[in-house]
């Protein structure tokens, strides 16, 4: 007659079982807010002072360019060589988007399915942990042997790196639904599918965004790492190439592009999370 015949007890507002996941990065999503023009002005001023001091100090101590190029030299390299670097950025983005897309979709589906079956979850979780903790870069040489120097080994590595991250966070989200809200939906005659879409999924959304954010950053790391291991294109390939030719301004220009990419990804998911999961303040 009833599916969940536990002793009803709703003193606690949320089931605490899943509050702290393996990769609970809530600190990431709870950054300080920038509120006013004054805040922005101070941040910019500090940045100018810091970069300016670096420039001056490198000049004073006559640090050779192959050790550390001046910020101005990096800026010039970024400007003059961007046309050459841009296609490589495109390759990296293709690897990142396709690998992360595949990994995230599989991760989300696995998380949604697995949390419905606690026993299956117990069996599968150790393997997921293994995937989360093993650096997928370690597999890249093997993948290159099998798939060659094209996109395939990199996309697979990115998917392997980001998918488990998305999965483990999403699973934490799906698990923490409190039984009171499920009972509420059931009291209106909700089906299992309705309960999933109308209660479990919205409740899991904040953790899903954390998973997507962490997963995409891991994906970026893995994409660049895989490009450094082998193949003739991508930002990672540029890094190895420039450093081997001691073209340090260009090398740091690529690093700047990667930092910007990482920050953009972070901001994107931060804003998405704010828009769709702001109820959990």
């Amino acid at each position: 007659m009833s599916n969940s015949d536990a002793i009803p007890e709703f003193g606690k507002t949320s089931a605490g079982s899943g509050e702290v996941g393996v990769a609970n990065m809530s600190a990431l999503t709870a950054g300080p807010g920038i509120n006013s023009f004054r805040d922005v002005a101070i941040i910019v001023a500090v940045a100018v002072v810091v970069i300016g001091s670096v420039e001056v100090l490198l000049n004073i101590f006559a640090v050779p360019q192959y050790v550390l190029p001046k910020p101005s030299e990096i800026a010039v390299a970024l400007y003059t060589d961007f046309g050459f670097i841009a296609p490589h950025l495109g390759h990296t983005l293709i690897e990142l988007f396709s690998g992360f897309g595949i990994g995230a979709v599989i991760g989300l589906i696995l998380a949604a399915v697995i949390t419905q079956f606690p026993f299956a979850e117990k069996i599968i979780t150790p393997y997921i942990l293994l995937l989360v903790t093993t650096p997928m870069l370690a597999l890249v040489p093997l993948l290159i042997l099998r798939f060659g120097f094209g996109y395939e080994p990199r996309i697979i590595a990115v998917a392997l790196a980001s998918g488990p991250m998305v999965m483990i966070n999403a699973a934490t989200g799906f698990r923490r639904v409190d039984s009171g809200k499920i009972a509420l939906a059931r009291s209106y005659g909700a089906s299992t599918l309705q309960i999933f879409w109308k209660v479990r999924a919205p409740m899991a959304l904040p953790m899903i965004f954390v998973g997507l954010m962490v997963g995409s950053i891991f994906g970026l790391l893995t994409a660049v790492g895989a490009e450094m291991v082998g193949g003739g294109f991508g930002l990672g390939n540029r890094l190895t190439s420039y450093s081997s030719m001691i073209q340090m301004p260009q090398f740091f220009a690529v690093v700047m592009i990667l930092s910007t990419l990482g920050i953009l990804i972070y901001v994107l998911f931060f804003l998405l999370g704010k828009k769709f999961a702001s109820w959990e303040a």
Binding site: S2, I7, A190
Partner: protein, 275 residues
């Protein structure tokens, strides 16, 4: 309704028994409880923790099954959730990602029906939620949240309203306000109400009859009539009759727990592990 309609109870609990399987053996939560609830009455249920109040209410709602016995609504055995039954839970149990309007329309979304907007608007007005439709639950006080839950439960015009310690988390003043509100809505709609509470005062103020349950196993120990006309005012709470009734119920609950404790001591001593 047949010609003898007035004799047919709205809700009939027949020998309701519930056994929970727990790690330390079976727990008899509800032991052969039988109860008739008439159409249009407010029945309040009090009892110590572990007396099976919530289990009984959940069995009435069809959310949880019984081990044996049955609950009959309008002559039909309840086998699962039923749209004749509205439920108000402990805590308001609002969905935090939906605003007030969307929370109140949640039952209709699940059922795939069109909400009766005029009825919902009148309920919102009645409980003092005018203009609160777009607020998020976290912007509301506990009392306001429970008002939303009340509107949500009544939105699809159930003929029975089951309330599971709905105001336990509220402060005394808000609680009193909510009690008046429940009575007002009851007088408007004549919905049959079963309300579980820890507060004997609340049970007396709202109840036409009060069921006192005893713990472990949960049994119906006593049933009291509350002979006050409606609408009631808080003034009745200071009458001699209410004072006596309160004390009687207190004695019934406390006395039951003390005798249970005495019985429990002996087997506990015998069960002390020894080599």
């Amino acid at each position: 309704m047949n010609a003898m309609g007035s004799l047919e109870p709205k809700l009939r609990v027949k020998a309701a028994t519930k056994v929970y399987q727990t790690g330390s053996g079976d727990l008899l939560a509800l032991d052969r409880c039988s109860l008739d609830i008439q159409a249009g009455e407010i029945l309040t249920v009090v009892g110590p923790s572990g007396s099976g109040k919530t289990t009984l209410l959940w069995a009435m709602s069809g959310l949880h099954g019984l081990t044996s016995g049955e609950v009959v609504l309008d002559g039909k055995t309840i086998k699962g959730p039923n749209s004749q039954i509205g439920m108000v839970f402990q805590e308001a149990n609002l969905l935090p990602w939906r605003n007030v309007d969307a929370n109140i329309r949640f039952p209709f979304e699940i059922k795939g029906e069109k909400p009766d907007e005029a009825w919902i608007a009148s309920l919102m007005h009645r409980v003092g939620l005018d203009g609160f439709g777009r607020k998020m639950p976290r912007e509301l006080s506990g009392g306001m949240q429970q008002r939303v839950a009340l509107v949500r439960a009544l939105s699809f015009k159930p003929s029975v309203l089951l309330m599971d310690e709905p105001f336990g988390a509220l402060d005394a003043f808000t609680r009193e306000e909510m009690n008046h509100l429940v009575e007002e809505i009851y007088l408007d709609t004549r919905t049959t109400i079963v309300l579980i509470t820890h507060s004997i005062e609340e049970a007396i103020f709202l109840g036409d009859r009060i069921v006192v349950m005893s713990a472990r196993p949960g049994r119906i120990a006593h049933i009291h009539d509350v002979p006050f006309a409606r609408p009631r005012s808080m003034d009745i709470m200071s009458t001699r009759e209410v004072f006596d009734l309160t004390n009687t119920i207190k004695r019934e609950i406390v006395g039951d727990q003390q005798s249970k404790a005495r019985i429990a001591q002996r087997p506990a001593a015998a069960a002390t592990p020894g080599n």
